[in-house]
Symmetry: D2
Subunit: 424 residues, 4 copies
């Protein structure tokens, strides 16, 4: 199979010092937009979650989870975009997760960067790399502390509006409202995003039990479509199995309502069979001991196939995804798409690269059959297979969830520790 | 605790376009060399393994495992160096693993890059990033297919000589002979490295059972010291527990022989309690389903402490290490060293960053006690905790191990598959 | 708490040779019948499954699972009855599982014993031991190969009738139709049992997915009550968690239909979180490698409490139950019942007997808190936590399920092995 | 293969009421003694541990672990003997474990039965059942609280002497000193046992690390042989793998010393890969949550084969063994012995009885290949595979180990709980 170079220009090589590449970029033909692709039945490969990937690389702080790195360490963000592009991503999402001013203020951002600075820098980086290949730029907004703290619809919408203004000015290709636990807030976001005239996708971070107010996946999807989203689906909080299952329920709901939509999934790269409604946040391992749950590339090929079979055509990832996970999606669907991603030059499909390994018994693993059947060991005999999730059964409006600008105080922490130890 | 900026110059920021930084580099004082540091009792933090990290990012092919990316995709290699520097590494190893011509020819390298090109490019990248901070550059050589195929001592030494010539010309700070399964070949390497007059470190990829010819860790260490290595230890093939245990045996051997050395460990970031002599290569999960075995940052802090207590002062990592793993080593030993790495600006020690998390029950996890006691679940109830290693009990000299330039043929593969399935 | 002696006469002691105990038996007051007990809100403790317990003791053959031991090895059967009585059982079920003539013929019984002989011997044994305490005798019938082979309603009912005739002649206290996978066959059984005028209980071996024809638990229960059963519930095939969940669905169904019934559960003593509709039969471990799934006494106390809280008042066990499991049920519900079983003289509640252990760190385990929180290890690091069930998706009427008298032939077995290996 | 009836007389059948069987017993030829059998190279199958088996049946109290049931509930003890005989045991051990007066006083025995009463009753029961087949009676003594509390050699030997007097009077066939953690005490026991002129076997409950004073298995064995034991080996505390490994070390020691002995193993029926020196006592699961560790019959066949291959010819079991486990030993070694045990009439070798199962996919499991390869699941996804043992590193002479007659007081318990919780 042909390996497609998604790179229109060769930027990164021993030749990098040798000259200007601008010409090539100027001559590139216009790209098909997201709806044209999906309407034509193409598979669109998304990217992976930047927050977790950059936390491991040292550029994002777990806890606040804010994206100031777009302005602070652009090189690191650019490189990650490039790796996802090379792995096969057709969409570069701006690294603007939690980049609303209420969040940046609220969670200990050092104030060196305003929301506007971060959003602008993130757009520039996504655009720069997207233009090195055939990818589109998607501007993203996500749930706000303002909603959780019961601010008004107008207040919350104003938050979204501020981010959108940057996306419009930077002329991104389309917009994604993602990572919403309450469909109501997602609707508000979609309504704001629609004012731009750009295509709008909306994904909730919910499972089969529905959103945190108990609205089922089918109903959620109908409300998002009615609010104006052309693409709906699920991102984050659950593993691929659960996300595909949930998006099927969304699809059923939309079809039963006589509506139409495209579907997308951007799940975790962590196995979460033991999660309840609130997903991996509630797992005791979140966020610093999730390693044993990381999906393999073979798990990812299974996910790509199942999502495809469920009618999903925008297939990407969220927290935990590394570039090789995205490449696995592109490799699994290469027969349907007709080409492999550029990154496959460094990967033999189904382990065939092992044919060149030194040890003969490792060469004997160079086959699909071997990897598909393997049940990998954890090397952790003192650890269990599943955990009982935490979670205090509270949602928007509960006093425990009111957000504050200040870091949690010592007294507040002590109260939390006590509450937690009683819960176990 | 003070966060030390290992960066002498601020290269990577929104300010990056705004001006030259060369002046700062010129003025930097001379760095202490590796032996001065170790003799002074300093802790030297190593970096992580590039082959596995770049395989996941899409720049290295599993199977051949060759480092042509140094020449082919320098941006990706540079960025990984920079992440390790930021995480606290004091050593930038040149990305020259398996960069000997016999290996590059033997394993399907496309011949666009010669060994010399790769070695030169790797030195330049390591040096560039090392000079952004207080790190040293180490030129590295590793075991050769020539030795496995029973070439003469002269032939094997000539292979090492070719790489060394580049390291001398590029004036690296010191040299590492690493990843040797047979102490005899490592001795040969050390003898060649010694001719340069630079400090020499040597690490074997063996466990407590000794090298593949059955020479115990203590005897191996004595032979390496006698050959001229000032620093000896273990890298790759086993988890931290096993590597620290093995290096203790080395230390005992050296001390019993009345010799002196510094010690280093650069283990896997995978749990391998079920490995036998040949280490993780023999695990059924190698190399594509090792995910459930990945160590957490807390596992790494335990490793750093145990290595330190065992008298190891050059503490780094190998395959599986990501920048956050290296940062964990630097954070654990911050009390001894007096400073935190730059990357800790994005990491609250022992999870304290979670104090700023949205959900109160996640804030309750912001404490050492919580993470130290947690036994993380795999989310894989259909998988076991341990595996029975493969491995056909053959080593250097066995027909099965003769290396060939060509990729394994269909017939050869069929014979391997049959042999493997009988073995199970 | 008072330890009640359920033994009206002291039969088994060093005094056993010393004299007649008949007098005591003669003077025993009439026992309350099963419905009087349940109507009064009493907790009735059932016994455990004889087939599995006696298989481990060497008196039942796995495969045929027939109860000829009642006639062939009465001593072994009597002893097991006595152990359950001592453990707290209020019901002695006749050991007549699969004691219908069509089953005895069909599955390799050596023909030394007729169905009538076995049924009679089983009644005598149950009665003898029941009269040593305050227990009732329940005559039991179970599903037939005739039904599976599509024999007529009349034929199947005739099978039940033959067993019932013995129960009437031996004057058992009440009747149980148990272990039915199809509610239709259970209804037929209940209809036959009702003709005796004795109280009738009926339990299906189904889970929340319903019977093998897809009839849900609620509907099943309604049909059984309408057929005349005064007590309905679940036995075998699933663990306590699943059985309690299923019987709750039955109760909801019965109540929604405006009917009334008593409820019973007699689950497995094996954990089965991974089962699908057909229960533990389909687990790869069935029947010879179920050991790692065996419930502890603490699991049993949890079960007793949950069954009680769900409104179940006839609480017993099935396959895998040993006497100490039954004792755990009686101990958990001792506060409600006001007394402990006789067997508790050899058991300190919640491990308190360990106060007399030699090692002090074992004495430190003499507390409820310790045992309730413990997640016991399997000592099997090469084994998984869950299995994927077999099961070919066939039920009554399918050619694969036609029963034959002869043992499976070599050719038939080969066909089965091939079919099985394709399935995996 | 012929099924041997070990029963000289048919005691247990529907015919049991019909007549005297004494004649047959009188005519039975003299049995070969234990040394004649072993010298002739015969395999001798031992029995299983009575304490754990009868605890589950309700006749032994965990904590004190004393055998008053021999006198108190003879029927239960007799039945268990009979089941082991039927399963293939050639040795009926008297149920006299911990039946020394210092233990009976020390651990809350209600004083209804003296040591002498219990020892006598136990001999009678073992003899009665042994005479129903071809089994020998072995009188057993085990370690004493007196030794642990530092009583003198004379005092400890006097304890053994009291039990031996009963064994001589009852004329048992041979003697076993078993379950010793300190070889010194075992030597004392052997010296007392030798005074009877009967064959003497001695087993320690130790692993490869040696006894609690650090004497290695080889040295222990040499000392026991020198003290006069003709048979030496290991019982209890560890799983079969560990016990076979340890007895191999014993054999090496004895042979290196130029001595001769027969060897025996009577391991646990629990997997204990995670144990340290003190064995399963220290596992957190001991004694009430060991269920997931129970060996299957297939594990037992593997044990029998490995013990046989290691040169062990007296092969039996200890805590956790049920009759079907003993039968598995006899079935595995049937080719060597030329016959199957009586109990095999109810067991198809390697699952062949499943050929008569109702469900075709269960019939497909009627083969050795299936059961040998199966890695059985625990059904416990929230539980680990291995545990970290307790154990406070104390042994004989330490204040914590001084034994007292009284049950541990509330204050003593509180101190223990505190000490234990600090330890975790």
């Amino acid at each position: 199979m042909r390996v497609q170079s998604p790179f229109r220009t060769q930027k990164d090589s021993v030749a990098e010092k040798s000259g200007p590449v601008t010409a090539a970029i100027i001559m590139a033909p216009a790209k098909k937009n997201i709806l044209e692709r999906l309407d034509a039945g193409e598979v669109v490969i998304g990217d992976g979650g930047f927050v977790f990937a950059l936390e491991k690389r040292g550029y994002v702080k777990a806890g606040p989870w804010t994206p100031e790195a777009a302005a602070e360490h652009p090189e690191a963000v650019r490189q990650l975009h490039r790796e996802f592009l090379r792995a096969g991503s057709n969409v570069m999402q701006t690294f603007t997760f939690y980049a609303s001013d209420d969040k940046l203020e609220n969670r200990g951002n050092t104030q060196r960067f305003t929301g506007q600075q971060i959003n602008e820098a993130a757009c520039d980086l996504a655009k720069e790399v997207a233009n090195e290949g055939d990818a589109l730029v998607a501007g993203g907004v996500s749930q706000t502390p303002s909603y959780l703290s019961c601010k008004s619809e107008n207040d919350v919408k104003a938050i979204f509006k501020k981010q959108i203004d940057v996306f419009v000015q930077k002329n991104v290709d389309f917009l994604i409202a993602e990572y919403f636990e309450h469909v109501e807030e997602a609707e508000w976001a979609v309504q704001v995003l629609k004012t731009t005239g750009k295509p709008v996708a909306a994904t909730l971070c919910i499972g089969p039990e529905g959103d945190l107010n108990g609205v089922g996946p089918g109903d959620c999807a109908v409300r998002l479509v009615k609010a104006g989203a052309q693409i709906v689906g699920i991102n984050c909080h659950f593993d691929p199995d659960t996300c595909v299952k949930t998006v099927k329920m969304m699809k059923e709901g939309v079809e039963k309502a006589g509506l139409k939509a495209h579907y997308m999934t951007q799940p975790l790269a962590y196995h979460t069979p033991d999660c309840n409604r609130q997903g991996f946040i509630d797992l005791p391992e979140f966020p610093f001991s999730l390693e044993p749950r990381i999906l393999s590339r073979w798990d990812m090929q299974k996910y790509a196939r199942e999502a495809y079979n469920a009618g999903v055509r925008f297939i990407g990832g969220c927290c935990g995804f590394e570039p090789y996970h995205i490449r696995a999606l592109a490799e699994e669907l290469a027969p349907e798409r007709g080409f492999l991603p550029a990154g496959s030059e460094k990967h033999g499909t189904w382990g065939s690269g092992l044919e060149m390994h030194t040890k003969p018994w490792v060469r004997a693993r160079a086959r699909r059959d071997y990897w598909e059947k393997l049940n990998p060991a954890s090397g952790r005999p003192y650890c269990p297979s599943m955990s009982i999730p935490d979670g205090w059964g509270v949602t928007k409006g509960h006093a425990d969830l009111m957000q504050q600008k200040e870091a949690t105080s010592k007294d507040q922490l002590k109260a939390l520790f006590d509450k937690a130890s009683q819960g176990h």
